[in-house]
């Protein structure tokens, strides 16, 4: 028999196995769409994987430009993905995220959190000093309307509820805060400089405006407005800044895997902290919409809410709310 004839015979014989490929891919589709709980099916997938690997290797040699090869490549890739898929337990995954993973990330990023917080405090002090020394500089940080309102001896926060209902105000504020946090995290991509800019600018503005209101005898009123939501809101700004700084450092000083791998690891790790930030900002937004602008809440209530929510944030980030204790941590380590 000629070589070509032999190849044709081999190929024809090989194609007789097409039915077993169809059955394999049918099984994978059933399993991936969860239309079956058949244990037999699940056990057969491992055999299918070996069968498809064997036949794919033959198809690459015998039928390199055929639809059979394309079919086998696809079936093999689907089986590979299906075998590598972890079991789906959304409830447990969420619990594990808040109990173990986020506290671990906070621990890993503690130095970033410290330095970013220091940057925020330093820029707040710098902002206050700037306006104290050069009062006209407030024009760089506040709108003309805001300046005019404060110069009339009023706070712009006093009329917030007259203009917008609490629910709408909450929604706007929490959306805006979440966007700022996400941008602070993503800005870490510019080797951390973008994150430092956002954190620094926010600190500078806070210091400037507090000093400006103090110069007009309104600092107490502003403190009363800010304290309920601000404790967590400003802390979250530092946390998302720390997440962005970690991304930036991964690009500046990549590990052994290279810059791309280092960036990916840092982004995935810090992203978990960002999720906690988003959850906390939803609460802060609700407080800022319903409590902060409402004059019926006395100062002590606002302080209790602000400090209480801040302690809740600490408990969330340490995993205490989900049953994490020192002994759990030791086991996890």
């Amino acid at each position: 028999m000629s070589k070509a004839g032999r190849e044709q015979a081999l190929t024809s014989e090989f194609m007789r196995r097409a039915d077993s490929w169809r059955q394999a891919i049918e099984r994978i589709r059933r399993l991936s769409t969860k239309r079956t709980d058949d244990v037999e099916d699940a056990l057969r997938v491992a055999d299918d994987y070996r069968l498809l690997a064997h036949d794919l290797a033959r198809a690459r040699r015998l039928a390199p430009a055929s639809r059979a090869l394309e079919y086998l490549e696809s079936a093999y890739a689907q089986t590979h993905a299906s075998l590598r898929k972890t079991a789906s337990h959304p409830g447990y995954a969420l619990w594990s995220l808040f109990r173990d993973q986020i506290p671990a990330v906070v621990h890993e990023l503690r130095h970033y959190i410290f330095w970013v917080t220091l940057l925020f405090i330093a820029s707040t002090v710098a902002g206050a000093w700037l306006v104290h020394t050069y009062p006209n500089l407030i024009g760089l940080f506040a709108s003309p309307d805001l300046i005019a309102t404060v110069e009339r001896g009023e706070l712009w926060t006093e009329s917030l509820l007259n203009v917008t209902p609490s629910s709408v105000l909450s929604l706007r504020i929490l959306t805006n805060n979440i966007v700022v946090s996400v941008v602070a995290y993503c800005a870490g991509l510019v080797f951390g400089l973008g994150t430092f800019y956002i954190v620094g600018l926010n600190g500078l503005m806070l210091g400037c405006i507090f000093m400006f209101t103090a110069q007009h005898g309104l600092a107490d009123g502003l403190f009363s407005f800010v304290v309920a939501h601000g404790c967590v809101e400003l802390s979250v700004m530092c946390l998302s800044g720390a997440a962005g700084a970690a991304v930036g450092e991964a690009l500046i000083r990549p590990g052994e895997g290279g810059r791309a791998k280092s960036f990916q690891l840092a982004a995935m790790r810090s992203g978990k902290l960002l999720l906690a930030c988003v959850v906390l900002l939803v609460g802060a937004g609700i407080i800022e919409g319903f409590v902060s602008p409402n004059p019926d809440f006395p100062l002590w209530t606002r302080i209790v809410i602000g400090v209480g929510y801040w302690l809740f944030m600490v408990a969330l980030l340490r995993g205490w709310l989900f049953g994490r204790s020192r002994s759990t941590r030791a086991v996890a380590v």
Partner: protein, 254 residues
């Protein structure tokens, strides 16, 4: 898991580099990487879908809110206007990608229509965390306009990935899960010396029959019949000609 690139040469995605993933069987998994064309096409379809959904929600809910008197924002809008009309419409538009990709494990209707899917570097489906991080970095990819950064990054990177993919460790690959196998002569004896390659051509001709121009499909069908069934007189009308090709492929002449 190691991955490396090679060139491959089958079908419309020919020329795209492959993502090759080592496997325990010793036979590597080969996934063809989608380029910026497929990426942009899928995004455009999704953009259309989310725009329609968002506009439809706004239109219907605004009409209901205004008692059928128009779509304008009321002069004194109540919280219900923002919470039931504006917010859901904005959320449909802005959260479409993260929500749909989480629910569909890295796929969207646009990607499905184009035939691409997101995968991790080891060939597994991306998890919720990876999908969310991939979408968060859209903020960077979309600047300054029209996904400028994302497009440039996709053009410059080895695996044609945007920054969101780099952050999440994902790749966009072609998905051939809808490829069907024809009946091969090896499975059933056919007349006319039909070999495997011819069987695939016949099957593809039948699959593409509705999309080919009538004169083109008739020309192809007659050539196939002349070669593999010379004693069959090709029919004049479309339906009979198609039936003859189907019969030839099934191996049972009418």
């Amino acid at each position: 898991m190691n991955e490396h690139l090679s060139k491959s040469s089958i079908d419309a995605s020919a020329g795209s580099p492959d993502l090759r993933i080592d496997s325990v069987t010793g036979v590597d998994v080969s996934l063809r990487i989608a380029g910026i064309g497929a990426r942009a096409y899928a995004f455009t379809i999704d953009l259309f879908i989310r725009s329609v959904l968002s506009s439809a929600w706004y239109a219907v809910s605004a009409l209901v809110y205004n008692g059928g008197r128009g779509l304008e924002t009321p002069l004194e809008a109540s919280p219900a206007w923002y919470l039931l009309v504006v917010t859901p419409a904005s959320a449909l538009y802005l959260l479409y990608h993260p929500v749909v990709e989480v629910l569909m494990r890295g796929r969207t209707p646009g990607k499905r229509m184009v035939g691409v899917r997101t995968t991790k570097h080891d060939g597994a489906l991306p998890g919720t965390g990876a999908v969310l991080v991939r979408n968060i970095f859209r903020i960077v990819d979309s600047i300054p306009v029209m996904y400028g950064v994302g497009l440039v990054t996709a053009m410059l990177t080895r695996n044609n990935v945007r920054i969101g993919d780099l952050a999440a460790g994902t790749v966009l690959v072609y998905d051939h899960s809808n490829v069907e196998l024809p009946e091969y002569p090896g499975e059933r004896t056919l007349p006319g010396g039909l070999d495997n390659a011819s069987a695939e051509i016949l099957d593809e001709l039948l699959q593409r029959w509705p999309t080919l121009r009538a004169d083109a499909r008739h020309h192809l069908a007659r050539r196939v019949l002349a070669r593999h069934a010379p004693d069959v007189v090709p029919a004049e009308d479309d339906a009979s000609l198609r039936l003859q090709v189907e019969t030839l492929l099934k191996g049972a002449r009418a």
